[in-house]
Symmetry: D2
Subunit: 330 residues, 4 copies
């Protein structure tokens, strides 16, 4: 659902490689039924489908599983109907990521149409929540910034090694994170050869990071989140700064992270400083740590369209259906 | 007039350095009277003016000279009124570049409102038309692609060295050439890390190149013009291919070009292959020639916003008012 | 062989997806035996091999098939030994692309060590030479620019539709085409935000294009080849200009191309103007044609590291071993 | 001195616009006496000088003022000789930025040859040290990162508003900051489309920031400095995080900054979030502040080659010679 954007394109490319999947329908709210290859020229000769304005009921007749690439608020009402029809859903929107309807409406400026379900939908990071994802009918695919930040910080917080109320998360993203809708801020001559912070203290991924880290650790987590727009297509580098509660040792921290992610095939705890190019077009998240003047710096790198969106969605589907977690992703 | 775009911004920055110029007014068709520094943040603290929706009459009361940064068709009617009020004008639009109203309406799909004046307005390339620019009340500032192509080819055609009916002009431009209005094709993740041809055989600069080269040489000139969009902010590289009428020698051609442009301070005939970076943020046009398998290849480089637009406009104003041609431009 | 560069990295990534291939050894002429993931950080946790300085004999004991990613002149002597040991080879170097040792030594400034074999080694474009590739023990993997140019021009020349002695090939490549060795010309602040032509009339891919097109058509083909360096990682756009011998029709030409490449899964004859982004990270070559003022313009797009190098190598291997031609490539 | 790099090129372009300056000599340690336009093609026809291997004595005979663009350790011995010969010097190297020879040798791994002079050389930020710059025979031109960080943080520390021992400075720089010497890390296909941190906790600009902020405030300042390499030519964005000692108010902080920099023509305290494009090719530093969850975030933007290097050098020279501070810089 919602096949015109960048996450849909990336998802289609991944699913075309998946041996257990057949793509049977693509939807759009537009009415002119364009062929997918006219919307995404990269798909020429690769997929012979039009984009149709299908109802959830029509979708339910065609498929077992739906990927929802719609914006928040537009997504939940359709997800509700799909679930009723017995379909399993991976939802890219923010609608089921938080579990508190008040927090949701404060940040998204809209009432949540399905508040009771919110606490029961697993957050789609298999590295932390694979047990509940396995059984779920619907999974909330994570936001791109939260993916990089949560994977970077979870082990520190789970082990209770750092103060949880003043973590700084300085993130840098490529421009595809802003979506495919042309705006002045993403017009090439405006953002090329320039870096700037945006939505400082006001980005909706800030409460998402706090909520998920709080859920994992049982503590109140409060981050200061500063996203920056970088002149490149893809990639998120997260540089997080945390204050340790006691003495810490850089190499022991790295070892602890390797242990923590031992069974997570897509988290690579590395000794070198990650670059977004190392994870570009992959589902990997590279992480390392440094201790500088008594502060812990955690740096992580992902591709915002893969591990930060469509790759994670396929990974979630693999877990939901009992396929090997890495199918179509390596 | 029309101060919200990239050529206006570049023009303002150049004029702020010009010792003989004071900027007294900026216009827009919008009604909210924004301060120039909210439209162009680069100008913060540098120019204290709002953008106002002024009539030509209001403008005429404030100034001696107007730079028109409006699109074709929108420009001529206002230029006509300014001229009537005794103002001198440098017009960035295409409205007075051609001298034939039929050719104009064929390519621009609109009737020309001021056809009689067309043949009397000089084309604003001082390298070729400085005598008529000196005396002119209005000058037609050249298109960006034509500037690079005409300066590259004029000496060959003036000397009658090449066939004039099958010249190939393969041009490559930075994205600012497409203007400041956001569209899908200039959305960062669409055009970054990609090069493509566009408007092949249909670009309005093709008849402009032909017309001006024809005017200079008295011959019928016909080019095959292929523009390409390159992932960079600024710059036009033109690679032109011409068939010589007789034997040609590379170093003699380069010497001839040096002679031809001896009194043109902004044309640098060089021995090395020009890169657009060498002319970036300058009013220079770098040119060189190569002979390969009996064909002449001429390569020129300009900055599309400076020599291809606002720098040329200041150069024209300098010539019109008898200032040193290079004032504010070096 | 020669696993430190960009073509080797791309090849490894493709082969890791190939169900019929196991990578058993990587070579380098360096002596410190680095792990592949220290040379290519993208391969962390993906391949557990060191780079070793192995002789052809040592290689022959480990494998059936070798991909040679060495520069010209360094490659042929090793290929000769591998062939003697019964190994099949896909050679990325230029050593076996031409069939004339004199032409080779004129352009490469070195005597060819294996001149007798030259005419018997098929040129590795399966779109044109699949029959001989099937049976070959060694295949000459094509140059990146020739791939784009030959696929663009072959149908026109095979059908004898254009003059063969004055074809202009204006090509634009991303910077990875220059290899991984740092030089001033590929230093980021030198080539970023700039486009320039280089090696005009002197590039070694010019005789390669001529030779292969001549071989396909039986005619003497002479192109004027102008490569340009574009500020992007990957991709080659080729804009070729040819003079038709008679009347031509744009849509008939496109139909003829579709017919010509009907059985070539990686050539997509399209109606729209190709962008390199459409073929980025794929083995596709997109092609279209336009007729402007009686000239034919053919435009093709490839990824220089995939269809222009490592993807083509895997495609050749697939043909050599009877695997499906698209295995690991879609 | 040292005219082959990017800071020298930028300096020459600025000085060519300076009405009080004539450039009389350029030096290099190379012996082949290249013309400046062969080293910097942008300067073709603009400056007719060769680069010569001149001694300080030879320089002293030609000029009153020398700009030293040499690396640390190479610079001080030559500066000493120039000062002895009565020449005034703006030194781009780090040799006179710190005042403690032990701190210097700890970070630069070399004994300082001129330790007595160190405490007497003013740090070339006229915004903070104009009085001593006026009288100085030699000025230590600041490092690029320190310029952005110090201008962002000085008012907070001078007013004693924040804790001084745990300030986080997360900086992002364009690639020209790495100099003109080609290396793998600045090879286009390595750093394009990628962002990464480097030298975390080990960059020599960290003690420089601490030292200068400490000098301004009389306190012990300790920052955690994390530089990142961004795929763009120029610009440094600094995002600094400080813990206030008491209650703070965002708009009051911005007002206080406006007051602090009231007489600094190149610091623009703005309300919007700065982008490096707004200061590109200018000597401006744009600064703003935000308060998020009780933390102060200060964001500054400069052009690393102008305000971060050559523009600052011209500004220092203007102050030293009593010219208007903005001459040649606006």
């Amino acid at each position: 659902m919602g096949a015109t954007g960048y996450t849909a394109l990336e998802l289609i490319k991944l699913l075309l490689r998946h041996p257990e999947v057949e793509i049977v329908a693509l939807t759009t709210r537009k009415e002119d039924r364009p062929h997918v290859s006219s919307v995404h020229k990269q798909l020429t000769n690769r997929l012979d489908l039009t984009l149709d304005n299908l109802t959830p009921q029509q979708l339910a007749e065609k498929t077992d599983c739906v990927f929802g690439c719609l914006p928040h608020a537009a997504s939940a009402p359709l997800v509700m109907q799909l679930l009723e029809a017995g379909i399993r859903v991976v939802d890219f929107s923010a609608d089921y990521r938080l579990d508190d309807p008040v927090l949701y409406s404060n940040w998204y400026n809209v009432e949540h149409p399905d508040p009771e379900r919110m606490p029961n939908v697993p957050y789609g990071l298999p590295e932390l929540f694979s047990e509940s994802i396995k059984e779920a009918q619907v999974v909330a695919n994570p936001g791109c910034f939260p993916t990089g930040a949560i994977l970077a910080l979870a082990p520190l917080l789970v082990d209770n090694l750092v103060e949880s109320d003043s973590i700084i998360v300085d993130s840098k993203t490529g421009v595809s994170g802003a979506g495919r809708n042309p705006k002045l801020g993403t017009h090439y001559p405006e953002c090329n050869e320039s870096i700037a912070a945006y939505s400082v203290g006001q980005h909706r991924h800030m409460p998402e990071i706090d909520f998920v880290l709080g859920k994992v650790t049982g503590k109140n987590v409060e981050t200061i989140f500063t996203p920056h727009l970088v002149p490149m297509d893809r990639g998120i580098l997260t540089t997080a700064y945390a204050k340790p509660k006691g003495m810490v040792n850089e190499s022991e921290l790295i070892e602890r992270y390797k242990e923590f992610y031992r069974e997570s095939p897509f988290v690579r705890v590395v000794d070198h400083l990650p670059a977004t190019k190392d994870t570009m077009n992959t589902n990997y998240c590279d992480v390392t740590l440094r201790v500088v003047r008594g502060r812990i710096i955690v740096i992580s790198s992902i591709d915002n369209l893969v591990k930060g969106a469509s790759g994670a969605a396929v990974q979630n589907m693999n877990v939901m259906y009992g396929f090997d977690e890495t199918t179509a992703l390596i």
